[in-house]
Amino acid sequence: MLDDFMIRAGLAALGVAMAAAVLGCFVVWRRMAYFGDATAHAAVLGVAMALMFGWSIFADVGLVALTMAVLIYGLTGRGQAVDTILGVLSHGALATGLVAVTLIPGQRVDLDAYLFGDVLTVTRMDVAIIWAGAALVMGVLWSHWTALLTATLNPDLASASGINPRREHLILTLLLAAVVAVAIKVVGALLITALLIIPAAAARGFTRTPEQMAGLAAVLGGISAVGGLRVAVMLDTPVGPTIVCVAAALFAVGTVVTKLRSVGV
């Protein structure tokens, strides 16, 4: 079954999209979208390193994303206004990565594959790594769910209940780096944040509890992944951007339906 490249692509996209959608709920609740962008953009630097030294894309992207994420985590702990610093780090890392890739001797690199993803070329091994990463992210979210939720709601409330809010924030930071690493081949560095926030945002209007929102976000993420892949094959468009287009369309439909319901149509 895994011999079919379409099946492999579908599985890869599904795994990434569902894990990203659930983690994305926290990104939305904590307003970490820019944080996600910076971590994802750093991935291009990881790609450059992987190509330069011949290491695994997943490992290098994960390593660089992790470094960036921990760096930002350290900065946010000092209570500074961080959006300017985030902007510098985010685009600095992206530009450095783009320059570094072109400096690699003897390689003609198809940069588009890393900026926008190239899910149709994933191997069995890629699918296995993506699902292992996605399962890890889901598992950690599952086991820390209440602590993460309490810390997200209010850090002081978490402290009073014996939950260390900084620790929970660090966990989310590490998970974000993991999602970036497994998503780079599917949607590419520039569109990872879209997979994080769009399904979560689309799910918000239809749900009454955080769990419902995470569940619906995962479903919408899955629909976007599979639907986007089908549409991309039909129209011969790039898969990553098409997946994001389907997610954005779901968000638009959801927003309209929510508005219509609220005025009683």
Partner: protein, 200 residues
């Protein structure tokens, strides 16, 4: 910030703080503050805005680490904390009932009982963001009560309530002390309302 009187019964204190000094950058927020709280008493910290009352509470809760001083908690002591304000991001759906399950799931009977005790029995299915200021504070109180606290800490709990509302809220706090036997530590700038309810 004045030094608060230390209770004579330090040995039996549920919670005590000794020589707490807290700085934010250049500002000294708390300087050498000590206090102790024994079971079943109601203590109110009164002071002007910006005098460091909330910071003291946050130190006692464990949310801030002071530069100097020690906070000692009796082993196994449970804290119920009602923060001054709790902003729930509108992107997070959250019913009152689900909120009461944080940080530990509670059964529905207990949840309904806590809402009744706090004076908001009909709110279980509402979204947190749709509550009025007074209802919101009472739901926060209900959540704190569900942890069966030995110490209940309230930070400006009556903010946004009118005077009769505040008075009712403080009477409810007294009832809570009577029913649960927990110590209560409050922060307020409303001396007149507080006086009647506290022991010191």
């Amino acid at each position: 910030m004045p030094v608060l009187p230390t209770s004579g019964a330090v040995m039996t204190a549920l919670l005590s703080a000794t020589g707490i000094t807290l700085r934010h950058g250049q500002n000294t927020v708390l300087e050498n503050v000590s206090l102790a709280l024994t079971a079943g008493e109601i203590v109110t910290i009164v002071g002007q805005n910006g005098s460091g009352k909330s910071s003291l509470l946050r130190v006692l809760v464990g949310a801030l680490t002071p530069q100097a001083g020690v906070v000692t908690r009796k082993a196994g002591m449970r804290v119920g904390y009602v923060p001054q304000k709790l902003h729930i991001d509108p992107t997070m759906p959250m019913t009152v009932r689900r909120f009461l399950d944080l940080p530990k799931r509670v059964d529905t009977d207990a949840a309904m009982q806590a809402l009744l005790t706090a004076g908001v029995p009909e709110t279980g299915n509402r979204q947190m963001t749709q509550l009025s200021g007074g209802q919101f504070q009472r739901v926060l109180l209900a959540r704190a009560l569900l942890g069966k606290p030995d110490v209940l800490m309230l930070d400006e709990a009556t903010q946004g309530l009118d005077q009769p509302g505040s008075a009712r809220f403080y009477r409810q706090i007294e009832d809570v002390r009577r029913d649960l036997g927990c110590a209560i530590l409050m922060v307020s700038h409303e001396l007149h309302v507080v006086m009647s309810a506290s022991d010191r």
